[in-house]
Symmetry: C2
Subunit: 269 residues, 2 copies
C-alpha cells in the first residue's frame, strides 16, 4: 500500500463510521483519568437506566480488559448477518465488546494501532439500527487510543468519572482538558464513591473528602451532574452481574443515576 | 563524552551510591501498582512508627508529585554542608524530597532520565549518617524510573501497597513480579482500605471485597503483612499533616501499622 492508498483507506474508514453511527442522535463517551474509579459500573448503570425508556447500545472500547460483559456476567458471541456485526442483547441493551470475540483469551495481545483499528471496525460494521444512545466505555487514561476512539465517535456528550481522591481528580482534570480540546459540546463530571451510608445505622460517611470534585468542576467550568454513593450492597451484587438501577431503583445510588440520565436527556434535545 | 566515559561515569555514580547507603542496614522500597491506593500515607505511618525506636530516613522518589512533604504539611530546604546534602528533619524523621528543592514550581519539568539522575544524586550525596532504615516512596507504577531507582537502592525489603479492588490487585501483581525479578529478599503485600468502621455505630464495613488481597498473596507466594482500615478521622487529619500512628496509637489503624513494623524489624535481623 502506498501513502496515497493509506490515506484513501483511512478516509474510507472514517466515512464508513460516519455513515454507520452518524444518525445515532446521542453519542456518549465515558472517560476516567485512571482505573479504579468505577467507570464501567457507572457506565452500565447509566445505560440500563436510559434503556428504561430508550434504545441503548454500549460499545466496550477496552480491548485489553473488556469488563462490560464480565461485570454483567454474560457470555456471548458477535454474529455476522448480511455482512454486519450483530451486538449481543442483554435485558434490552445491545452490547458490543471484544470479549465476545475472544475464543482463546491468551491468544489476544493486540498492539495499540490494531486495537484502534478493531474499535473502528466495530463502530463501522455493527448493526446499530434505531439506536438512540450509543455509549462508549473508553479505556482508562487519556492516551492515544482514547483520543483515536473519541475522534471516530464524534460524541456530543462526554462523561468524566472521578472519585474525590486527589490523585483521581488530577486525572479527571486531564480528561476534561482532552474533551474540551476535541470540541465535545456537553462535558459533565460525575463523582463516584462520594460517600457511604453505614449499612447498619445509616450514618453518612465522607470517604475521601467532601467538595473536592465540586471545586475541580468550578475551576474547569464543568458541571458536576451526580454524586454517587458507594453502596456496599450494590457493589457486592455487581460482582454477581446484577445492575443497581434494575435491582434497587429506590436506593440513593439509583436516584443519583436517574438525575444523571435526566441531564443527559436534556443535553441531547 | 564518549561511550567509554559514559559507562565510567555510570559506574562512578553507582559506586558513590553504594558507598553512601551501602552501610544502611535496612533499605526499604515502597511500591504501588497505581496511584490512589494510599501509598504515601502508609509510607509515612510506617516511617514514624519505626522512628519510635529507630533512626529513620525517607527518600521521596516521586519528582513529578513529591507528596511526602505535602502530606506532612512541612516546608523546608535541603542545605549543603561539607559538600553533602542535609535532609530536613521532622519529628525525628529525616526527609529528602525534590519538593525541598523547587523554588519555582512551574519551572520544573524533569524528563525521565533527568529524574532518575536526580534521585541517584540524592542517594549518593545525602548525609544519611547513622540511619538504620532508609525508606523510599517510589513513584506509582512499574515503569523504567521505578526500576532504575530500585536498582540503585539495592533494597532488602519491598512493600507493595494495594487495595482490594480488582484493578489495584492487577497492578500489585505486576509490582510483585518486578520485585521478584530484581531479587529483593523480602517482599510483602500490604492491603490498604481493607474495611471501614462506621464512625457512629462501629459496624465493620467491607468496602471493596474481603479476601481479594489474600488470594493474590497465595497465588504469588507473598505474605500479606497488614490489612489497614480506612479510618475516616485519620484520613481527615492527614490532610492537615497529622500522622495517624503519632496522634492515635491506640486505634486499629495504628495497631496494624505496628504489626507491619514488627515484621519489617524481623526481616531485617
Amino acid at each position: 500500500m502506498n501513502t496515497q492508498e493509506f490515506y484513501t483507506n483511512m478516509k474510507t474508514e472514517q466515512d464508513k463510521i460516519k455513515e454507520n453511527i452518524g444518525s445515532i442522535k446521542n453519542r456518549v463517551v465515558v472517560f476516567s483519568g485512571k482505573g479504579g474509579v468505577g467507570k464501567t459500573m457507572i457506565t452500565i448503570n447509566i445505560a440500563y437506566e436510559l434503556a428504561k425508556k430508550n434504545s441503548v447500545a454500549i460499545i466496550d472500547c477496552d480491548i485489553t480488559a473488556p469488563n462490560i460483559p464480565k461485570m454483567l456476567n454474560i457470555k456471548g458471541e458477535l454474529k455476522i448477518k448480511d455482512k454486519r456485526i450483530l451486538p449481543v442483547e442483554h435485558k434490552g441493551v445491545r452490547i458490543v465488546s471484544s470479549a465476545f470475540m475472544a475464543k482463546d483469551k491468551d491468544a489476544i495481545i493486540w498492539r495499540g494501532p490494531l486495537r484502534s483499528k478493531l474499535i473502528n471496525q466495530l463502530l463501522s460494521d455493527t448493526n446499530f439500527e434505531s439506536t438512540e444512545y450509543l455509549i462508549a466505555d473508553l479505556p482508562p487514561g487519556t492516551g492515544d487510543e482514547v483520543l483515536t476512539i473519541t475522534q471516530s465517535m464524534k460524541p456530543n456528550i462526554a462523561l468524566i468519572i472521578t472519585t474525590p481522591q486527589e490523585v483521581s481528580l488530577g486525572d479527571a482534570k486531564r480528561a476534561i482538558s482532552m474533551a474540551k480540546s476535541m470540541g465535545i459540546k456537553n462535558i459533565y463530571l460525575i463523582e463516584n464513591m462520594s460517600y457511604l451510608k453505614c449499612p447498619k445505622c445509616g450514618e453518612k460517611i465522607d470517604l475521601f473528602g467532601e467538595g473536592n470534585t465540586k471545586k475541580l468542576g468550578e475551576e474547569m467550568g464543568i458541571e458536576v451532574i451526580g454524586q454517587i454513593p458507594l453502596d456496599i450492597e450494590i457493589r457486592k451484587e455487581s460482582d454477581e452481574g446484577k445492575v443497581g438501577v434494575t435491582e434497587h431503583p429506590e436506593k440513593e445510588f439509583s436516584r443519583e443515576i436517574g438525575k444523571i440520565v435526566e441531564k443527559i436527556n436534556g443535553a441531547s434535545q
